[in-house]
Symmetry: C2
Subunit: 345 residues, 2 copies
DNA sequence: TTGTATGCGTTATCAA
DNA sequence: TTGATAACGCATACAA
């Protein structure tokens, strides 16, 4: 039995004035008698009047809400992105509808469809492929759209990314600097981020005059609970003389560290390991894990900022930006050897 | 320049029929001529017509949306809750507006206020205190409300919780079973969950005929990045003869394990350690950490289920349920001693 | 200073 | 079988 919320009409009736006057009084309009204004405000307070959000939206044609399609909410990086998005939204008076897609194309499509019905003023989206058609429809409807984390070049939108290739390059270069010569690459899945990180890896290896060895490059298909890629990293570690590993996620790097203990290889002495993302576990694990910072919070803030700016300035911007959030290598114990010092951040 | 989305009126004009007929045709009403129906459907498809969500909401007085006030989105447990909530919502045709409150009372209050304007059909809320007044207003407005994780007894609502006292009891009892006699308790903050877990701890200790020793009970105020409570657990470990520790979070338990290495105490041989929540890190860390499962996903599913049921059956239910999601002790290396065996889950 | 009428997009009711 | 009209709650242009 839903009790009907009080409306300006109810207030007007009780005061024998029209709804418009109530509306104006509540908006503190200068055209309204201060006596009646006072009465209205008092009554509104008494009944704890709240304007109906849906009516406001219908009339203003804006919902003050954005949609966020995010691959995973149980994830340190994406969680940070979401927190950044929400922080900026909150300070701009916006709300977020969150659609965790769990990397399922069907969920992505149904999310995009839901957002095409005018329930949000804009969309934040991590592009995972397979949804091109629906994204196109979104853009055709002129619904502001900003990509984060991954983007499709073919769409004219703002993008907020990290430079994955550069990050992969820097991580690999760091391994080379601490003396690694036979460096393995282990990636979680063959998505675009990991492909770019692999390109960076290849560039760094080539620049160092080392031949790229395909048997050192592994994509793990491990979809187990923790996705540590234990089996695949074991295989990688069996390559003779391997003395460095770049893993595209911290979890995979930890999987490597675990396997190292089993086969009695010492890290960092025998083999240096670097991960990716700077998750809590990289700080906590022993040995602590060198990694590449992936600033999710900043990415979320920036993406929300660009989106809301675009919502507020609806004339189609001619200059779509690709914002690259800076990353950096964080050196910890797992690569602390040679003339390098471990920072225990 | 926001392109106006197409409406049933537009379609009607083009076909020289009224909006009502279009509406009926789209609803596949049997009262409409199959010829015109066909035309309408075709045109709607051609223009990719989507009914305006806001108008639908205003007219039906329901938004098919729920609000979720959640303390933290960068958090394995709450992330799982959110995933569960979203999964159930998705399969019931609902969307979620997420308000991460970051434990900030102001954010909680502004979230609740935002939800009082009719933009959601119901609210999911983890009660953190200090917002009693606003929650009361929510209830007075007959907005369906379900508590998860923590609840305030004074409100008549459904609740989805774990039995924290029992969980604390079982964790401590497990330590006793593996031979611990002088057991420390370390909790992250003095919130209601931790207080209940402490009660369980006390009960188990007392039942074992051990006197409760206040110096063995510590609440850490560590608000550092990782909240491992390193300093406080160090203090606790300095108590002579301590041979078991129950930490109310896995992160704190890991902090204990780290400190043990420093002072050359062996786990589980010299001291047994059990955490709480069954986070990924408890499986990954070495030694692997015994812990108490805290089923966030199930909690989210159940909470969303109760809320949406209540939304669909608006007559005020007389029997508010308190659903306790079952928990269990997960035994790993950190307590594997005596006649116990480590399960490496 | 206030009231009336209109529109936002849709469905439902009533009339034709 | 279809159309006109009201209603959802609000803001605003126009009339008084």
């Amino acid at each position: 039995m839903k009790k009907k919320p009080i409306t300006i009409l109810d207030i007007g009736e009780e005061l024998n004035i029209s709804a418009s006057t109530v509306s104006r009084a509540l908006a503190d309009s200068s055209l309204v008698n201060s006596e009646t204004k006072k009465k209205v405000v008092e009554l509104a307070k008494k009944y704890n009047y709240q304007p109906n959000f849906t009516a406001l939206s219908l009339q203003s044609n804006s919902t003050k809400t954005i949609g966020v399609l995010i691959p995973n909410v149980v994830h340190e990086f994406f969680g940070l992105v979401l927190r950044g998005v929400e922080d900026h939204c909150h300070s701009s008076g916006y709300s977020c509808i969150v659609y965790p897609t769990n990397e399922d194309p069907d969920r992505e499509i149904s999310g995009i469809k839901a957002l095409m019905t005018g329930r949000v003023d804009g969309v934040l989206l991590s592009f995972r492929g397979k949804t091109n058609l629906h994204i196109k429809q979104l853009i055709e409807r002129n619904i502001p759209l900003v990509f984060f984390d991954t983007a499709d070049e073919s769409f004219a939108t703002h993008r907020v990314l990290i430079d994955d290739k550069k990050a992969g390059y820097l991580a690999t270069k760091h391994l080379i600097e601490v003396g690694s010569k036979k460096i393995g690459f282990i990636g979680g899945s063959e998505n675009i981020n990991n492909q770019l990180r692999l390109e960076g890896y290849k560039q760094a290896v080539s620049e160092a005059g080392i031949t790229i060895d395909p048997q050192l490059i592994v994509y793990s298909l491990d979809k187990s609970q923790d996705e540590m890629g234990l089996e695949d990293s074991e295989k990688l570690l069996s390559v003779k003389g391997i003395d460095g590993i770049f893993a595209t996620t911290d979890m995979f790097a930890v999987g490597v560290l675990k396997n190292l203990k089993k086969i009695n290889l010492k890290c960092p002495e025998d083999i240096a390991v670097i991960g990716f993302s700077n998750w809590a576990i990289s700080r906590v694990y022993e040995p602590s894990l060198s990694t590449v910072e992936q600033p999710g919070y900043e990415m979320g803030i920036k993406a929300a900022e660009l989106l809301i700016d675009q919502i507020k300035n609806p004339e189609t911007p001619s200059d779509f930006k690709t914002v690259l959030i800076p990353t950096e290598v964080i050196v910890r114990t797992s690569t602390a050897r040679g003339n390098n010092v471990a920072h225990s951040t």
